[in-house]
Amino acid sequence: MDFDLSIEQEMIRKEVRKFAKKEIAPIAAELDENEEFSSSITRKMGEIGLFGMIVSEAYGGQGLDYLSYIIAVEEIARVDGSQAATIAAGNSLGIGPLYYFGNDAQKKRYLPKLCSGEALWGFGLTEPTAGSDAGGSKTTAVLEGNEWILNGSKIFITNAACDLSLGVTVQAITGTRPNGKPEYTCFLVEHGTPGFKAVPMHRKLMWRASSTAELYFDNVRIPKENILGNKGDGFHQMLQTLDGGRLSIAAMGLGGAQGAYEAGLKYAKERQQFGQPISKFQAIAFKLADCAMEIECARNLLYKACWLRDRKRPFEKEAAMAKLYCSEVMGRVTDHAVQIHGGYGLMKEYDVERFYRDQKLLEIGEGTSEVQRIVISRYIGC
């Protein structure tokens, strides 16, 4: 066994950490407070190569392995959940399906812009009536001559309603399969297409500086060639995208847990009560010991899942486990971190307040914790 990262992976961690500390940390609280998506920080993240990390250089990507990508997300999340969301969704959900399932022309058209951080792409799966159960979706696409006509709506779509949004991948029903279930196909819809409306969703508890959108499709006509892969591939494409996406959500849990733990440890050493630092009280020290242990376990599980993926071995079970475990670890760690901060932990002056809020989404997005447990239980043969 070899637990050492490569020289390059270590350097990526170091540089992304430096970037996050210098560029993101000073503005994170303010963007959160104002519920503001920042194009300028997104572009800066693009400049250092945080988009298209797993895409080959031929399409403007960075040509990294999956573990390097996950380390980068972890380091951004250590400082801020919202910016990590822009990165994780940008890479796994926006760029991922285009890169894996798009044809050469589609990749050439979109990927260079998306990999540089000049533009963002959304992933439209969830609908008001279809969350955990994708079978409840109602959005349809009908071929008429040389055009597909889309009707329906999507909800909670990340990166899809900001000034950098270039388009979205939309899953729609295109017929009925032999077994009577709906047939799904994915389409590429550019912003500005008549009938397509993207409306920003506000008043979120968490990820307040990340762009979330409701999408409306009212007789949206797109060229026939805007289909992603083949007709009927949609469901499979979405599942495969989510398998990889789970690793990036896990990375957000791991990084967020690390950031909250470090803040808790620092505060515990500084805060004096009863004449000594509160870290000297066993009740506080044990909380921090638990955090350190759980973070260590979370990192090992997540990195192993990435290791499997990088070696092209089955990783889906481990990805579901990592997503579930890392997000729940961040839940326990942020809870401890706020508790250690006492009343100050409930105030916006302290970052743990934001981490505490940002964590909750990780147990809901890209498959709830309940759904992850369903996935894992299937893999172990229940």
């Binding site: 390059e8 350097m11 430096k18 190569g49 250089e57």
Partner: protein, 260 residues
Amino acid sequence: MDVLVLLKQVPSTESIIEIAGDGVSIKTDDLKWVINPYDELAVEEALRLREAHGGTVTILTVGREKAAEAIRTALAMGADKGVLVSDPVLEGCDPLCTAKVLAAAAKEIPFDLIIAGQRAVDDDAYMVGSAVAEALGIPSITMVIKEEISENRIQCQKTIDGGVAVVEAPLPALITTQRGLNEPRYASLPGIMKAKKKPLDSKTLADLGLDPQTFTAFKMKIVALNPPPERKGGQVVEGETAQEKARELVRILHEEAKVF
């Protein structure tokens, strides 16, 4: 325009420095190592010169093998090649000795300009840059906040006490950096991957034709290390009005601190 950058790896300024059990060295286990911040300015300036005039940027380091990490980071920022001079004899040598080795190594690398940090933030000697220029017999301009190159001359603005001086020198020359010169770029992720394939030569004193024996005389012997005295807490001057506070402050300075 070939630029040579002298670069040192130092403990990160955020590291907590603790004295080791032997009382004459520091604990290095948990230290984070970085490029000396003033050398980072040097790398950035060199890259900008290459972008403007073409040429190459070479990184030259004297240090332990671990210092290769710092060179790799500079390569990831965009430098073309690196040279690391590493030799057990050099452990604990003084700044002049480091300068001699750097100068010897520099003679084997073509350059029009050498850029060095004004000082390394670990032992703050402020000597190496100028000493290298002296050993090479080229002019040096220290504490540079702006430079301009035209027709084989370099014109610099350098900070001096209470102002800025404009100084000119013919090339080849050596300059040292001052804060304000530029804002160093980050090593990008693709830059990190590209750095993997860039040449990084390792050299010993023998490779440079230097006799290790002559360097033993330059060894510094650290007798003892002591942490700086702990800062005492501040004191709040009491008083209802500004006048009262001022009077109280004068009294404290006079009677308690005995400043006058």
